[in-house]
C-alpha cells in the first residue's frame, strides 16, 4: 500500500532538468544580447522623434508624381531591368544544374562531390546580390554585364539547393528500369530523372525569376545597370517627383511578375 502511495504522490514534469536549463540558457542569452544591443547601439533619439515629420516631408516633395519621366528614361531602364533578371536566371542554370547533380545523392554517390557542391552553393547564398554586384562592377566596370552576373551568381545557391532536393525525392523505379535496358547515362538523365523533376524545376526557376526581378531593380544603386541607376541619379539630384515615378514603376513590375508566376505555377502543379 505504501508503495502505491509514493507513486501517486510523484509530481509529473513535462521537461527534464537538463531540457529546462538549456531552454532558460537560450532565453537568458537572448535577453542579454537584446539588452546589450539596446544599450550600445548608436541611435540619436532626436532623429527618431523627428522621423514622422521627415517622412511626411519626403512624401510631400514626391507629389505631384512626374509621369512624363516615364517616357524619358524609366521605360527603357525597366526593360533593361527585366532583361537582367531573365538573362541572369538563364545564365544561373548553366552553373546550378551541374552543381545540383553533384549535390544529389541519387545521381553522384560520392561525399567529395557533395562537399564541393555544398561549398559553392553555400558561398553563393551567403553573399548578398548587392555585394556580388559590387564585386562584378569592380571587375567588368559599371553596366549590365555586372548586373547579369551578380543575379546569376546569387541564384546558383538557391536553384542548386532546391533542385538537388527535388531530384533526391524522385521515385527511382523508372531510372532503374532504364538502367536495366542498358541505356546510356544521357538517356537515363533525360528519360528517367527529367520527367519527374520537370514540374519542380520550372516552378523553382519561375520562383527565382520573381525574386530576381525584385533584386535587379536595386542593383543599379551600385552601378550594375537597370532602373536602379535612374533611381540613384534622380535621388542625387533631389528630384523626388522622378524618384516617385521610378518607385511606382518598380512596384507595378514586381506585382505583375508575382501575379504571372503564381498563375503559371498553378497550371504547372
Amino acid at each position: 500500500m505504501s508503495e502505491v502511495d509514493s507513486n501517486i504522490d510523484r509530481h509529473w514534469q513535462r521537461f527534464t532538468l537538463k531540457q529546462k536549463l538549456s531552454r532558460y540558457a537560450v532565453y537568458l542569452s537572448f535577453m542579454i544580447a537584446l539588452i546589450l544591443s539596446l544599450r550600445t547601439v548608436q541611435v540619436i533619439p532626436e532623429f527618431f522623434y523627428d522621423a514622422p515629420e521627415q517622412i511626411a516631408d519626403l512624401f510631400s516633395r514626391m507629389w505631384p508624381i512626374s509621369f512624363e519621366f516615364y517616357q524619358i528614361s524609366v521605360h527603357d531602364a525597366m526593360i533593361e531591368t527585366l532583361n537582367i533578371a531573365t538573362l541572369g536566371t538563364l545564365v544561373t542554370l548553366v552553373f546550378a544544374v551541374p552543381l545540383a547533380f553533384m549535390n544529389a545523392s541519387n545521381i553522384v554517390d560520392s561525399p567529395w562531390s557533395h562537399w564541393v557542391a555544398k561549398f559553392f552553393l553555400v558561398s553563393s547564398r551567403s553573399i548578398n546580390s548587392l555585394v556580388w554586384a559590387l564585386l562584378f562592377v569592380a571587375i567588368f566596370g559599371p553596366g549590365v554585364i555586372a548586373g547579369v552576373l551578380a543575379i546569376a551568381f546569387r541564384s546558383v545557391g538557391f536553384i542548386g539547393k532546391l533542385l538537388a532536393e527535388a531530384i533526391e525525392e524522385i521515385n527511382m523505379g523508372s531510372v532503374e528500369a532504364l538502367r536495366a535496358t542498358g541505356a546510356p547515362w544521357g538517356a537515363v538523365l533525360l528519360k528517367g530523372y527529367w520527367p519527374q523533376v520537370k514540374p519542380a524545376f520550372f516552378s523553382i526557376v519561375l520562383f527565382r525569376w520573381d525574386i530576381n526581378v525584385r533584386e535587379s531593380a536595386v542593383l543599379g544603386l551600385v552601378g550594375a545597370g537597370g532602373i536602379g541607376i535612374v533611381l540613384n541619379n534622380s535621388m542625387n539630384l533631389f528630384e523626388w517627383q522622378q524618384v516617385a515615378m521610378s518607385l511606382i514603376a518598380i512596384f507595378v513590375i514586381v506585382i505583375l511578375a508575382e501575379v504571372l508566376v503564381v498563375n503559371i505555377r498553378k497550371h504547372l502543379i
Binding site: T40, V41, I44, I55, E80, T86, S126, I139, V254
Partner: protein, 267 residues
C-alpha cells in the same frame, strides 16, 4: 527469323515522340538570348577583358588584410545590434498585425486594410526602404533598424495570418461557448494552435535579418555593409576580402547556433 516465328515489327512507334511545346520553348529561349545580347550590348571582347581584371582583382584580394580589425569589429557589432533589435520589434508588431489580418477572426473592415498594409511592406526591396529611411532619419543604425522592422512585418505577419486562417475553429467555438472574452479566445484557443509555427517563422526571420543587416549599410543605414562599401570605393580589396570572409563566417556560425537552439526546442 521466319523459322523462329518472329516477324520484325514494321510500323513501330517512337516511344519518345518530339514534343513541339518543348521545341518551341527552346527556340524562344535561343531567340531571347540573341535579342538580349544585341540589345544589352554584351560582347565577348568586353567579357574577356573583364576576366583579366578579375585576375588582378583576386591577386589584390589575397591575402586578406585583418589589420584594421577594430573597424571590422565595430561594423560587425552594429550589424548584430541592428539584426537583434529589428527582429524583436518586428516580431512583436507582427504578432498583432497577423491577428488583425486573419480573415477568420476579424471582420473585413479590419482585415482588408491590414492585409494591404502588410503587402505594401513586402513589395519593396529592403534596400529601397532603407534609402527612404536614410533620407528621412539620417545615416546610421536607426535607418537600418526601421528598414528591417518593415521587412520582418512584411514576412512574418503575412505567414502568421495564413497560419491563423488554417486553424481548427472547434476549439475557438468551445472557448467562445464558455462566454470567454475576446482576449481569452485569442490566448487560449488561437495562440496555442499557431505558436510553434510562429516560433519557426521568427527564427527564420532572425536569420534573414542578420543577412540583410550586413547589406543595408551600402546605402548608409549602418552596419558592416557601410564598411564594405567604403572599402570598395577606396579600392582596399584586401580589406574587402577580410570583410567578406567575416560575413560568411558570421552566417555559418549563426546557422550552427540556430541548429543548436532548434535541437534544444525540438526535444
Amino acid at each position: 527469323m521466319a523459322e523462329l516465328g518472329i516477324t520484325p515489327v514494321k510500323d513501330y512507334k517512337n516511344p519518345f515522340p518530339r514534343n513541339w511545346l518543348t521545341t518551341g520553348l527552346w527556340i524562344v529561349v535561343a531567340g531571347y538570348l540573341l535579342y538580349t545580347v544585341q540589345s544589352l550590348g554584351l560582347s565577348w571582347s568586353r567579357f574577356s577583358e573583364g576576366l583579366q581584371h578579375a585576375g588582378t582583382l583576386l591577386d589584390r584580394m589575397f591575402p586578406p588584410n585583418f589589420s584594421r580589425w577594430e573597424l571590422l569589429f565595430s561594423g560587425l557589432a552594429e550589424s548584430l545590434e541592428i539584426a537583434i533589435i529589428s527582429s524583436v520589434v518586428g516580431i512583436f508588431f507582427s504578432l498583432f498585425f497577423g491577428l488583425f489580418a486573419a480573415r477568420n477572426l476579424m471582420p473585413n473592415i479590419v482585415s482588408v486594410p491590414m492585409r494591404g498594409f502588410i503587402a505594401l511592406c513586402r513589395s519593396f526591396h529592403p534596400i529601397i526602404v532603407a534609402i527612404l529611411f536614410v533620407k528621412s532619419v539620417g545615416f546610421g543604425a536607426l535607418a537600418g533598424i526601421l528598414t528591417l522592422i518593415i521587412a520582418s512585418v512584411g514576412f512574418i505577419a503575412k505567414l502568421f495570418a495564413e497560419a491563423i486562417e488554417e486553424i481548427s475553429l472547434k476549439q475557438v467555438e468551445a472557448i467562445r461557448a464558455t462566454g470567454a472574452s475576446f482576449t481569452s479566445v485569442i490566448l487560449f484557443s488561437v495562440l496555442p494552435q499557431v505558436f510553434s509555427r510562429f516560433i519557426g517563422f521568427s527564427t527564420y526571420q532572425l536569420d534573414s535579418n542578420l543577412r540583410n543587416s550586413t547589406m543595408v549599410g551600402i546605402v548608409g543605414a549602418g552596419g558592416l555593409g557601410g564598411t564594405l562599401f567604403s572599402a570598395f570605393q577606396r579600392f582596399d580589396y584586401d580589406f574587402v576580402s577580410a570583410i567578406l570572409i567575416t560575413i560568411i563566417a558570421l552566417i555559418l556560425f549563426w546557422e550552427f547556433l540556430s541548429n543548436v537552439v532548434r535541437s534544444i526546442f525540438s526535444e
